[in-house]
Symmetry: C2
Subunit: 548 residues, 2 copies
Amino acid sequence: MTKSALQIARAAYQPKLPKALKGAVKAVAGAATQSVADQEAIQKLFPNTYGMPLIKFEATDEVVTFPAMNVGVILSGGQAPGGHNVISGIFDGIKKLNKDSKLYGFILGPGGLVDHNYMELTADIIDEYRNTGGFDIIGSGRTKLEKEDQFEKGLEILKQLDIKALVIIGGDDSNTNACVLAEYYAAKKCGVQVIGCPKTIDGDLKNEMIETSFGFDTACKVYSEVIGNIQRDCNSARKYWHFIKLMGRSASHIALECALQVQPNVCIVSEEVEAKDMSLDDVVTYIAQVVANRAAQGNNFGTVLIPEGLIEFIPAMKRLIAELNDFLAANAEEFSQIKKSHQRDYIIRKLSPENAAIYASLPEGVARQLTLDRDPHGNVQVSLIETEKLLSEMVATKLAAWKEEGKFVGKFASQHHFFGYEGRCAAPSNYDADYCYSLGYTAASLIANGKTGYMSSVRNTTAPADEWIAGGVPITMMMNMERRHGEMKPVIQKALVKLDGAPFKAFAAQRDQWAITTDYVYPGPIQYFGPTEVCDQPTKTLQLEQAK
Amino acid sequence: MTKSALQIARAAYQPKLPKALKGAVKAVAGAATQSVADQEAIQKLFPNTYGMPLIKFEATDEVVTFPAMNVGVILSGGQAPGGHNVISGIFDGIKKLNKDSKLYGFILGPGGLVDHNYMELTADIIDEYRNTGGFDIIGSGRTKLEKEDQFEKGLEILKQLDIKALVIIGGDDSNTNACVLAEYYAAKKCGVQVIGCPKTIDGDLKNEMIETSFGFDTACKVYSEVIGNIQRDCNSARKYWHFIKLMGRSASHIALECALQVQPNVCIVSEEVEAKDMSLDDVVTYIAQVVANRAAQGNNFGTVLIPEGLIEFIPAMKRLIAELNDFLAANAEEFSQIKKSHQRDYIIRKLSPENAAIYASLPEGVARQLTLDRDPHGNVQVSLIETEKLLSEMVATKLAAWKEEGKFVGKFASQHHFFGYEGRCAAPSNYDADYCYSLGYTAASLIANGKTGYMSSVRNTTAPADEWIAGGVPITMMMNMERRHGEMKPVIQKALVKLDGAPFKAFAAQRDQWAITTDYVYPGPIQYFGPTEVCDQPTKTLQLEQAK
């Protein structure tokens, strides 16, 4: 592996730990917990792991000796900066408790457990990956651990390697499955504990006890760096509107955090669009109005941030897509006979009037995408829709109409960007490096204390690391029942942007100002070695949430 | 202006200067110069500014007093990191020589000179922009200064503001025009000097005396940061081929520098494609073969870097585009009558057999783009072609055919990226901050010494800044005659990638290895405060060139 100068320098960084984890640690149990909703149903599904107390780690003078223990670790789902530090935290944590403990990594995600594909993670290997981005130490994968035969296949290899505990690093679904697995092994008294770690750049795995998911900080900082650079270009060239789509699945946390960091002219927040029952035309009109207002002041440039999941939050679009899915599924044969050039008209004739009108208003490329590119279940692939182009085309059309009416006096030219892969595997910021290492170290302590069905929790992270609070949260505490593929399932509640939350309110209070003035902020690249106000700040989202 | 923490911390950075510029300075003249080619023609066009000697600045003990002088500055063309530091270098330079000197900025590029649109750049304003990216201090523009009436209009405002010298910060064309202007004012004894500064992220303005254009270093580092992050993602998820197009107009310097920094699986170099007379199919076959070779080892992922200008370097594509331009110009009326769905067949019937075959081989979207989107002169807009998608679609088609033949055993899925605006206005790296500031300071010394028609030159920049060599190069020295729009014009020779140069040779020696192994390098974000090996390295291109 050829290393860059920064990688070499950065390998020496010693991530910070909460004070309580630095020496000998004792687990202090709090009150028993309840799930956030559907208590009865959840308790019934998790008789062995429901209602457990919150755990908080405190420093102690007692010297406790732990037996050597073998631990397994799995990276599940999409990459997020800091995954390697969770693993090095687990490694250092279990080695500190007993130098004969071993760490095994399952290769390419949960599938590695089922297929018995693993490697021992020795000190040499761990040292190569400290403070680096990516999940390449063992790879990740999207296999879902949810079936008994998978659990049993996993158990075989766990027994064979004498693994007493498994750490699953993943998002809301992976942690839900971690808990199902914990319950299964507990019920069968297999002697295998399961601990989860909150990972996702999307920022949608958070609640009272989990302040943030790791990776969100770094990814947002990378996106904000490049958006800031684009804004500076935009403000220098003064001739383009940049439409910038940001990864983040359903929730708009990433777009909102980036907006707080860079102060764009427009940022669309999907959750607000849904709450206000805005139509696609409403969104387009809002953007076009900002463009027109700026043009009236001679400023024919600007930036628009768009969350990846927007389309699915526009109620009218959701209805259109639902009808299209149903219609195309029922009429696949007939539709396939229609000539390409007649398909659009055909669809318009067949849809309900409301949906036909929306479909007819879409640019040709998008309309075609909605009927042609479908997933294996026959559904429209919403994630493939280039929302940034869709919106800029529709804004252009609207502005052209306004120009005729004398309501728009400027020029409109656009550029498009989509940022996602640029940030998921960035080397972790100091915040994520410290947070992840602490999460891993905490996971080791939860294991040593015999816990299962817990998620590693590190809180108070807007304070200096010394004051961070480490502990464990029963995963069942975060669950409710939701309908998935027609069945009620226990799942960790996904955290969407709260419109009454401090981050959104801070944004909403300033956006009209940002829209008309040019008050761009240029955050610049993540710094690792400079002054603390440059290098060690958590996200604006977290700072605002914690300032409450 | 709301400032980020990094901007505030970075404002305090004092750019390094060559030792010779730190105290009192004397200009030492070298031998008389010749243009690189067409000496007689160039001399005839530039009787007053041809053949001047190279200038080198040396420290002196003599104390020389300079009268106060008013200087104007213009930012011309596309943004490049460090422009603000050139301006602060000029400002500090002229103020050091005489504190009553003044600096005026012309607004939004050369047009500001012609239209008398300007502002005085006072210390307060300059201090707001030190070490920042962008050209927003006065804006830039693309008006070409090449006509006498522009020169005369400019002279009016220069006289009015008592400006004795004008610094034009721009690329090869802008510097050519700076020299034409210098010659004009010299011939007419207007008492206005003109000095050029070498700017462009594209890296194509360089020669024996100009080691590099400013901004190339920072832009390449930003692109390499995000490409590195994508490579880490690619190597973690192990399921996508990322096709990454990079800005840089004609030359492939940016793609090559990024390749040297990140070690991708494939990097196409346009100059090599042209030299080897490769067809589009040759390029596609080369990439597909790398994909197939990696797939045979179970690695269905990788990265491909593509220079923006590629299409125009493929001789066969150039011929196709030329025929299309001629054909569509001659048959615009008839073509506009053809139904969209029949246009492709129509074109294929009308083109020469060779070009028809190439046209028929193109994916539908690209074929349509070649006939629909044309510039005001009726020409195909090559820069709009999404080469990254074109290549990945054609690679997919080829691999599908190879799969049938049993020559390809893997999977192929792709993602696309285009990086350009992300890097042009990044805050300058230490290298660019120092280099730009030194270029500006040198320009001030050239002005103080009465020079005109010179480009500011700072060399030996792979050594510590103390040892950098500052001076001036007669712009005519870099010129030759080239045909532009049917006319022979004096222009600065554009520096394309030299296939016998050290950077390309270093790349060529390693690329087969990079293609098959996964030896990605992750450069990470530009650092400003860390160890010197992380913060102060020039580009690999320059290091290799200077190591000769």
